[in-house]
Symmetry: C2
Subunit: 571 residues, 2 copies
């Protein structure tokens, strides 16, 4: 009872004050395959209510979102994860197959119901197999509650959901990634802005009427036009749900002031271009103070991998110019893909806005997670401390809550890695194991995680990995090059570390985060690159599991929880 009161207290403290005018939004969605031409080339995607991308949810802080999700796929299960929403009290609604719930069977309906307690720029996406990469995603925007104000002013708002797109279907992608010999998915065929891009098309052809046939019938690949009035300030909400690509965004001749990251306010800073990794979201302010007789390009290019994908373009269209008037100057060009100094410079500028809660001073536990590429029986995998994540058929939330035995490999995963591991070289012994990677955290404890990057299987290769934590925001305490050492703790930023739900590790570098395990549930923590997660790059954090109440039976109707419930053996 004392514990339970404590939980309730904590939940209450964490909640942003809720207006009395909070509402409940009720959506009825059906997931299904759709023909779509996101880059002017027709393909099959996973859409919602017959469209791609899925509908934008817009609500106010304190509101409740209820989504009745019908699975209209003929043979595939489905779930939807509400990325950035912490799901206090509703861990079963986190939408991660094998972790928070059973996949929804074809023709069945599952009801997600949760509070959006914090204003910010969020999104949602599939979290089963690689269904996100098949197009199952959309925007989720939370405004400040009635009577509240954002800590910055703007005259208008625009929303950009960024993604990448492969012509190969995800079944084929998944098979290739789990085959011996390994078949890599390669670079995406196109980058998309709000689900629109162009593959082997001149964008000019789209904006100059009648000049090309490289269009889709229903305008599905028409370039995004951002209509603005001169001399106003606009908030651009930007989120990336790419499968693979790290991105850079710039707008010709316009400065950008970054004000929000992952649903948390940051101390405003001005840049010419910005990096966005998969799983991240930002708000920037721009002022339309340039020559108003011209339009301007917004350009999104690839970072961190040798680009083989054309940049995605949108048009910043000053009123009253025609949107088909091509900008006078060329689109901005992204920095060289491997200019990591540029990328780090951007990440290092992000600090919490004054008033942001500060991290507890001392963690009770530090977990170091070594990110390596390995081989298991000749199959290429990503591993964390030499264990590659394999998700169980019974979701952890149910098997842990009801203490089912043998539902997963419950050996304690390592807290650290070999002292003499040389992160600058390929693994000497690349052989790894598969496992369930479930870390049990003491409820309400403060935990530090050191994400340690390393060399991949090939020499001189270390990749970017954006790590995303479910159910929490964390403080980003610091970044560093090379191997993390104890001394680095002294350099941690405890003054104004930004709160995020996604953070990147740079090649051969480390990133340190801190969070409080204050949300009863089982939460994924993983690289947000879809093929990397599919190859095992993730762990699971379980906390306050005894305190979890009321898991809907529909979330448990598979695997061992399903069997146990059917045999009436659960309390």
């Amino acid at each position: 009872m004392a514990m339970r009161s404590l939980v309730l207290l904590c939940i209450t403290l964490v909640l942003v004050p809720v207006s009395l005018a909070s509402r409940k939004w009720h959506f009825k969605w059906e997931v299904g395959y759709v023909y779509w031409s996101p880059d002017c080339r027709e393909n099959i995607m996973i859409g919602i209510n017959g469209r791609f991308p899925g509908p934008t949810i817009r609500a106010k802080a304190g509101d409740t979102i209820k989504v009745e999700l019908k699975n209209g796929l003929p043979t595939e299960g489905v779930v939807i994860h509400w990325h950035g929403i912490r799901q206090f009290g509703t861990p079963w609604a986190d939408g991660t197959a094998s972790i928070s719930q059973c996949a929804i069977n074809p023709e069945e309906t599952f009801i997600y119901e949760f509070k959006v307690e914090k204003p910010g720029t969020y999104f949602y996406h599939g979290h089963y197999g690689m269904q996100r990469a098949a197009g199952l995603y959309g925007s989720l925007i939370v405004d400040v509650a009635d009577g509240q104000k954002e800590p910055f002013d703007y005259d208008g708002e625009l929303n950009l959901l960024l993604s990448d797109w492969y012509h190969q279907n995800v079944q084929a992608q998944m098979l290739g990634l789990s085959s011996k010999p390994f078949r890599w998915i390669g670079e995406p065929q196109s980058l998309l802005i709000n689900g629109r891009g162009q593959y082997n098309c001149s964008l000019a052809a789209h904006v100059i009427p009648g000049s090309s046939t490289c269009r889709s019938k229903r305008g599905e690949c028409e370039p995004v036009v951002l209509r603005v009035l001169p001399n106003k300030t606009y908030r651009l909400r930007i989120a990336s749900t790419t499968s693979l690509s790290s991105l850079n965004l710039a707008i010709g001749h316009h400065k950008m002031i970054v004000v929000e990251a992952d649903g948390n306010y940051v101390e405003p800073f001005t840049v010419d271009d910005m990096d966005i990794y998969s799983g991240e979201s930002y708000s920037i302010l721009i002022t339309t103070d340039q020559v108003p007789s011209s339009n301007y390009w917004l350009s999104v290019g690839v970072r961190g991998r040798l680009p083989q994908t054309q940049p995605a373009l949108a048009i910043l269209n000053y009123h009253p110019n025609s949107p088909s008037k091509l900008p006078a100057s060329e689109p901005p060009v992204a920095p060289t893909w491997n200019d990591y100094a540029h990328s780090k410079s951007f990440s290092y500028k992000i600090h919490a806005r004054r008033g942001t809660p500060k991290p507890p001073t001392n963690p009770v536990r530090q977990i170091a997670l070594l990110n390596t590429q390995n081989k298991i029986d000749g199959f290429i995998k990503w591993s964390i401390n030499n264990i590659s994540l394999v998700l169980p058929s019974t979701p952890y939330l149910g098997s842990m809550r009801y203490r089912l035995r043998n539902a997963f490999d419950d050996r304690k995963p390592p807290e650290n890695f070999a002292r003499d591991y040389d992160i600058m070289k390929p693994p000497i012994n690349p052989s790894a194991m598969q496992g369930s990677n479930a870390y049990k955290l003491e409820f309400n404890s403060t935990v530090d995680v050191i994400l340690q990057n390393a060399n991949a299987l090939s020499g001189n290769v270390s990749e970017i990995h954006p790590w995303h934590l479910h159910g929490h925001d964390f403080w980003v305490l610091g970044y560093g090059d090379g191997r993390f050492s104890k001394k680095d703790v002294t350099k941690f930023n405890l003054k104004n570390p930004p709160l995020r739900n996604t953070v990147v590790i740079f090649p051969y570098g480390w990133t340190a985060i801190r969070f409080v395990a204050d949300n009863p549930g089982v939460w994924a923590f993983h690289c947000h690159i879809e093929p990397h997660l599919h190859m095992g790059m993730g762990v699971v954090f379980a906390e306050g599991v005894k305190l979890i109440e009321k898991i809907p039976k529909e979330a448990l109707a598979c695997g061992m929880t399903g069997k146990t419930l059917m045999n009436n053996h659960l309390p």
Copy 2:
């Protein structure tokens, strides 16, 4: 209790006498995607234990087959139907999703266990979505029990499982079929014999060493070679699990004596070529009495649709010729695709072998099923008496056994169709409804079904439909052209009607069948053409449902049975 004894008695009577030496065969299979090149072009298929087609099961009458089936597909459910096996006492093992069981979730294992009580040529295949068309199939051959003899002699045996193959994945096929505007899947790219065919390849290239690169690395599209000794008699087992194509098979210069159809002996008859519709199986005897210095072509071509697919070829290889010695004469050519007189002539020759059980003289019920193509909200469907089958999310077997309300649309489907319906013309009012098409049959009653073909939506088009009944063999009482009339009953063959599990209706014709509803369960009866079933061409027969015992909970763990079991509301 009296009823139950009766059931047991009936089951006992129907069983072929079982040798005391009956065995239990235990298989562990894992279904998963595989890269395969069935027609020399690499694609993704659904395989079993990493191979396509699935392993051949070989057992003796009276044996028990136990298959531990693990679903290794990352996001798709799966089931396997044991085509032709009647599943007395094990209706939950029939392997039809939404009818006999819940689809097996990814990473979960379901145990099929059933008796094969009757010798014959059978096969198994996926029965969820269009997974059969994705390659999920294999042979199941049941020999006579120890001490028993087949009623014909032969020196050796060869097995041919025929299928067709599309390069487009089945997700895309399913989407096209359920889209508005409708997108037809077209004709298959290739025909396969034992999973091997050639697309845009010269077969000669395969048999003459070093003459072509149109091969797969692992010999997956090497032509099938049937090695025979001169002057011997061989039994060829032939089954078709095509998605779309009706087939014709011939062997150059060799007569064929048909002796078995769908696991039932038929009165032997001799032909030069034979038709095989999807869902059918046959045994034929050939004698290798031709010039032994030559090899001979076995050729499989398309019937009933304008062929756009190359015939599949195999080589009858007389010992000691090299298998790469090309036959001296050209491959046999299939009869003109629309020479229905030829096809009917073959079907009409099939009679039961003496000793086959005869049908009861009088049915208690006659159900007429009109097969039409219709539109529902502009979507093209196939309908039975104007109702297009939509499968429920809760399998009928569970919802009927436990009398759950609202698990499906339980309105009684029509027993007949309009007296003035003109089958020679496209439907005047093409609008149809969707429904559950569940016919409840009195246990142990004798039922006649008249399958009535008609004109499709386009003028002058009526297609072949091979109808397959689960859980039973039926007697084929007769065929006729035009609309069935009461007078036709007098022409029924009650003397030696063949027992089958699959029978064809010819364009603009009818076919009459009779069976005894003596197998407690819920059984699909449907057109075996995969896209037609997907478009609604089927019904369900429920009989003796109260007598069904012991459905494994794993077969019920979805939909309303899953929920009800989890809420402890089932007896």
